[in-house]
């Protein structure tokens, strides 16, 4: 049970980085840490004691109920798999925005990028 609370701690580290830091790249790292914590929490939920991976081999073919009783939960894994790839796509979008902002204002500091003009 303590691993769940440690996931919360990691999530809060990401939130702190997102709110309190001024550097844009540091904020992106905060979002990445939040993604890590969420994915890890979802996989923790699906773990079963002495569980095996949800992949059926030809030897288990005749005894599928025994496999189903032993396997870990495959549903959170399927959702996390899409979440990881989406995270990469949004990361690329954020880095592109940061590069363009840096080109225009010559800084990563968000307090100096205050004069937004069309």
């Amino acid at each position: 049970m303590i691993v769940y609370y440690l996931c919360l701690v990691m999530f809060m580290l990401g939130i702190y980085c997102l709110i309190a830091k001024k550097n844009i790249v540091r904020k992106i790292i905060g979002i990445v840490i939040i993604e890590y914590a969420t994915n890890l929490f979802l996989v923790f939920i699906g773990y079963k004691h002495n569980g095996i991976a949800p992949i059926i081999t030809p030897e288990m073919q005749d005894n599928i109920p025994a496999f189903a009783a032993q396997s870990v939960d495959p549903l959170p894994q399927a959702l996390v798999l899409t979440s990881i790839v989406i995270g990469l796509g949004t990361l690329c979008l954020m880095v592109a925005l940061a590069i363009r902002l840096n080109e225009k204002y010559r800084t990563f500091d968000t307090t100096e990028i205050s004069s937004l003009k069309g």
Partner: protein, 190 residues
């Protein structure tokens, strides 16, 4: 029990890594520490019975590191100093309080580590080979039972890639844009 101890060790490792990523001065070391956290996560996924996610996490981590280093190396390494604003810290503290209370309440109602509630997954595990023909149950869920999710995922990926392209590609159209500005009478003050 063994897996839980291992996960505890790696999770503490990941938290220390993210602490370094948040607090260190150098941007490049911050990016590399975030990458270290990702690799630690992938080892945990391997022990938790999720080889699909472990493979994906390792490969995605490589690309994310390359992209992030590309973003940070483009400029001189500037560490932003100056006094800290008190308002964001205050907001963060208030948020921590709310989040801790809500999180403890929510986690108290959950089944413990290692005893998942598998109501829907029971059906998937029992019938995946028969109904979809896929012996990897995760792929069976992803591309057959819940293909709508994957469709949404593909849409998000397409949109983010299109957005990044639109943001990045502006050379070649700049001259036309300047002519337009002159024509209308707006001059960009740089």
């Amino acid at each position: 029990m063994m897996v839980e101890t291992l996960c505890l060790v790696f999770l503490i490792f990941a938290i220390v890594g993210s602490l370094i990523a948040v607090e260190t001065k150098n941007l490049l070391s911050a990016v590399i520490s975030a990458g270290v956290v990702g690799y630690g996560l992938s080892i945990m996924f391997l022990y938790l019975g999720a080889p699909d996610i472990a493979i994906t996490q390792v490969v995605v981590e490589v690309l994310a590191l390359v992209v992030l280093i590309r973003g940070t190396i483009a400029v001189d390494n500037i560490s932003i100093g100056g006094p800290r604003d008190t308002l964001p810290l205050f907001v963060a503290l208030v948020f921590f309080g709310v989040f801790v209370v809500l999180g403890v309440i929510a986690l108290g109602d959950m089944t413990g580590f290692g005893n998942p509630m598998m109501k829907v997954s029971e059906h998937y595990l029992l019938n995946s080979v028969k109904e979809t023909g896929s012996s990897n149950v995760v792929m069976g869920i992803l591309l057959d039972y819940r293909a709508y999710d994957t469709l949404g995922e593909a849409t998000v990926l397409l949109t983010s890639i299109l957005g990044a392209f639109v943001i990045l590609r502006r050379q070649g159209k700049k001259e036309i844009a300047e002519k337009d500005y002159e024509h209308v009478g707006i001059l960009e003050d740089e």
